[in-house]
Every structure is written in C-alpha cells, then in structure tokens.
C-alpha cells in the first residue's frame, strides 16, 4: 500500500470541502436537525411514560449512534460520487492506484467527515438534552466501533452497486439506512419484531449494538459474547463488501465500463 496514493483521495475531498458551503453544511445540518427533533420527542415520551426508563440515553443515544453509522456510509459513497459526478474514473483508474488504496482513501475520507457529524451531535445532545455518555460505561467505544465498521461495509457495497449499474443507481443508495432501520432495532427492542424479521435483524451488527445499549442503560448485564459476535459479523461484512467491489471493478475493466462509464452500460 502506497500512503501517498491513499492520501490523494482524502486530499481531493479536502479541496472540495474547503471551497464549498454546499458540501460543508450537510456535514452537520441534518444531524443537528435529527438531534433536535428526537431530543424533543424523547422529552415528550419521557413526560408520558411516568416510568424510570431512561429515554434520553436509550432513544436519543440510539438515534445519535444510528446517524453516525449513516454518516460513515455516506462518507464513503459521497467521496466516490465526486468521481462519478466529475466523470473522473478514467483519470483516476489509469493511475497506478490499486483497489485497496482507493478504498482506503475513501474510508479515511469517511472517517474524517463522520467524526465531524459525531462531534456536532454529541455537542447538541449533551448541551440541549442532557445526554451523558457515561450511561454507556465502557461499552461506548465498542458500540461506536461496530457501527463504524458496519457503515464502512455498507458504503463499499453501495459504491459497488453504483459502479455496476451506472450513475443513476445513486438513487438506490440514499434510502439504504431507512430500509435497514426497522431491522436494526434502533428505536425498539428486538422482541418487538415478528419472528421472521428478528432473523433478519440478527444478521445486522447494529441490532446487537442497540440491544446492548438498551441493556446497559437499563442496568442489565451486557452479553459480551453477542457484542463480540457483532464485531466479527461487521468485519466479515467489510471483507465481503471489498470482495464485491473488487469483482464489480474487474467486471468493469473487462467490459470497458470504466472507460465508458457515462454510458451506464456497455451492452
């Protein structure tokens, strides 16, 4: 792996962000709106329930972590879309950059942009709604790590879809988090779902994180084995995502799609 070639990908994104309010504002605007919306929703639910259930860390915290995972995915896809939008594939892929280097560059970009979003959400949720991360104890970092890995895997699968089916397939990508949210058990326990949906939920690492999060804030013991399993599952999805992207890229080179990407198909 050549670090200079990896650095070229985030550097390009930095140049784009530096001169573009249209790119900078979405880094924090939507997550701020989500925090405000769900912050008041949490307060309202807390006032209705008259129970000791801790809505702020259980619900607002879950929304925050889900938004973080979404930002990680979008960090990868948006950086890739910049090459799609500027028809830059031929220039980039005719350089010596390798696939692991290109993907690593996208992941570093995503890490930077998603951390900005996370920092903004933490400030808003803490200052305005009293979310204290101490509620998650030592599990905070493992929760974030599993969601980060899962977001990366989703991002890489998403860009493989766009590379395979052309620029218009971008519209398959934006709704992916919304499609997964019901199965990820962000807002409710796994047991709420019908049994067939629970099977699907168990295939998603975030469902273990959110189950674990609710257990911790309710004072129950977290099942460490399940969280370790979620970590292993997220790593497996990253490997699978990379394999899918590499296969799609090889197909694109074989068929000439890279050289004629704007045509969307070479058939």
């Amino acid at each position: 792996m050549n670090l200079a070639r990896i650095a070229a990908i985030p550097l390009r994104q930095l140049y784009l962000y530096r001169g573009s309010a249209a790119r900078i504002v979405p880094l924090f605007a939507w997550v701020t709106i989500d925090m405000v919306l769900w912050g008041f929703m949490t307060k309202f639910l807390g006032s209705l329930a008259h129970t000791s259930y801790r809505f702020v860390p259980a619900l607002l915290g879950a929304v925050l972590f889900w938004d973080f995972m979404t930002r990680v995915m979008q960090g990868v896809t948006t950086a890739f879309f910049e090459d799609v939008w500027s028809r830059n594939f031929l220039n980039v892929f005719a350089t010596p950059i390798t696939m692991p280097e290109y993907i690593s560059g996208l992941l570093f970009t995503s890490l930077a942009t998603s951390l900005v979003g996370l920092a903004v959400m933490i400030v808003v949720a803490t200052a305005a709604f009293g979310l204290h991360f101490a509620a998650y104890g030592t599990m905070l970092l493992p929760f974030i790590l599993v969601l980060f890995l899962n977001g990366m895997a989703l991002g890489v699968i998403a860009i493989a879809i766009v590379l395979r089916f052309g620029p218009a397939a971008e519209w398959f990508i934006w709704p992916i988090p919304a499609l997964l949210a019901p199965f990820a058990c962000v807002y409710y326990p796994l047991a709420t779902l019908p049994v067939p949906m629970q099977w699907l939920a168990r295939l998603l690492p975030p469902s273990y994180v959110f189950e674990g999060m609710r257990a911790v804030v309710s004072g129950h013991t977290l099942n460490g084995t399940l969280l370790a399993g979620a970590f292993a599952l997220a790593v497996a999805y990253i490997i699978l995502a990379y394999w899918i992207f590499s296969s799609v890229f090889r197909h694109a080179v074989k068929t000439g799609l890279i050289a004629r990407y704007s045509a969307e198909t070479v058939s």
Binding site: N2, A4, R5, A7, A8, L11, R12, Y15, L16, S20, E82, S86, R87, N88, F89, L90, N91, V92, F93, A94, T95, P96, I97, T98, M99, R250, V253, K254, T255, G256, I258, A259, V266
Partner: protein, 261 residues
C-alpha cells in the same frame, strides 16, 4: 496490482511500449484484431484511423482500464496485465474525452495527480509543467472555468507530471487554436526528445501527424493495415499527401492492394 520500482527498458534502444497480438472482443464484435507494434524511447508514433477503427480501444487497454481478450502489453520490461500498478506508474495520458475535474483548481488537480503518480519534489515539477504549457496565470483557477483549449493544456500538464516512459495522447490538440497547437506540438516533441519518452499519438489532423510523428500506423477495423514514415508513405502509395492516403484507406481499406507500391 503490485507496486515496485519504475520499469526501465533493458537498454536505451529497447521499446518502451511493446504490444503483441492484442485482441479485444465485445461479444461477437472484434474491436481489435491481434495487433502488434512497439514504440521506442523518444519516438512519436501516430495511430491513425477513422472513428471506430479501434484507436481508443487500443489506448484504453494500454492505460489498464480495459482488459484485453488476448495478447500482451509491456511498459519497458513490465507486463501491464501482471503488474498493473508498477507499469502505470510510468505511463500517462491526455485525451479530449477525459478532462480533469472542473471543481478543482489547476494547482489542486495537479497536486492530487502528483500524489497518485508518485511525483517527487512536486513544487519544482509543478513550476516546470506550468511553464511548459503557459498555465501560471490559471494556477488558482478552477478547471471548469477554463476554455476547452486551456483545459486541454492542463490535461497535458498532468500527462507530463510523472515524466512518463510512455505517453498516450488521444487527439491532444483537438480543441486548440492553430498557434497554440503549434506551440504544444513543439513542447511535446522537445519533451519526448529530452526525456526519451515514447509517445503514441492519435489525431485526425494529418498536417500535425506529418509534423510530429516519425512513424505512423493506419488502423482499420481493428487491424494495422499500413505502417511507415508519414512523409514517405503517401508517395509510396501514389498519393500526394498523407490526408489523401488517409481518405483512400478510410474509404476502401480492402482495396489497399491496388495502392501498393
């Protein structure tokens, strides 16, 4: 894809680009039919042919963005298909259909591609290419705001950033005025002579081809059907100009035998 030291020719006379029995099929369509050619250090070779003859397909394969159905491509001594990254570190290209991103400035684009091509001492190299293509005043201008001719010059600056052993130019002066085109031809010729870069040049401007190329190859329906010195070739086939020969070959490549000297 592998990394490693830059490929070098075995000796200064060995080809920097060797293409052997190169084929590309798209299903039943055979776009390139087993062509073989080479480019030597410092040589500028013209790849001529009508639209759809297979020129861009050939260039895409040499750039590593299109996998050949059969055949081999060597950059110096390095097999492109086996050691893609290593081979591409010594290659570069400019094409009218591949402008650099318009939302970055000239400097930013060149900085990013310098990293991708592993260019050392970027600041000095940037000054050299900006000088060579008269781009200093556009250094901090977004490429999308430049005229098409200026964008072409930025593309050429990018193409020379890494001092490639093999430079692929697909109609490099297509959108440039005649005066600028003449300067650019002169810059590319002196670059090739000074750095011993081998250049594969496609153009539909036969005057330009005669001026810059020491050898030309006519590609027709995926095959090389003629090859030689662009200044001597027309007379050998009873034509007064290269353009006249091009038109004859384009209209009826199968009748080439009738033209033979």
């Amino acid at each position: 894809m592998q990394n490693g030291a830059a490929p070098t020719p075995v000796s200064s006379h060995d080809p920097v680009l060797r293409v052997e029995s190169l084929r590309k099929h798209y299903g039943a369509i055979e776009a390139v039919k087993g062509i073989t050619f080479h480019v030597c250090p410092g040589e500028i070779v013209g790849l001529l042919g009508v639209n759809g003859a297979g020129k861009t397909t050939t260039i895409s394969m040499i750039l590593g963005v299109l996998e050949p159905t059969a055949g081999s491509i060597h950059i110096g001594s390095v097999d492109l298909l086996r050691h893609r990254s290593r081979a591409l570190s010594c290659t570069n290209f400019a094409a009218v259909y591949a402008p650099l991103p318009g939302n970055l400035t000239v400097y930013q684009n060149l900085r990013v591609f310098a990293l991708l091509y592993g260019v050392h001492n970027f600041a000095a190299r940037l000054e050299e290419v900006l000088d060579a293509f008269d781009l200093h005043r556009f250094r901090d201008t977004k490429c999308g705001l430049l005229s098409s001719g200026e964008q072409t010059r930025v593309g050429l600056a990018k193409a020379m950033l890494n001092r490639p052993q093999v430079l692929l130019l697909d109609e490099p002066t297509a959108s440039i005025d005649p005066a600028s085109a003449k300067d650019i031809r002169s810059t590319i010729r002196s670059f090739a002579a000074r750095t011993q870069t081998g250049v594969l040049w496609t153009s539909h401007n036969m005057y330009e081809v005669e001026e810059v190329c020491s050898r030309v190859m006519f590609l027709s329906q995926g095959e090389i059907i003629l090859e030689g010195d662009p200044r001597a070739l027309p007379a050998e086939y009873g034509k007064s100009t290269l353009e006249e020969l091009f038109i004859s070959v384009a209209r009826d490549p199968l009748d080439l035998g009738a033209l033979e000297p």
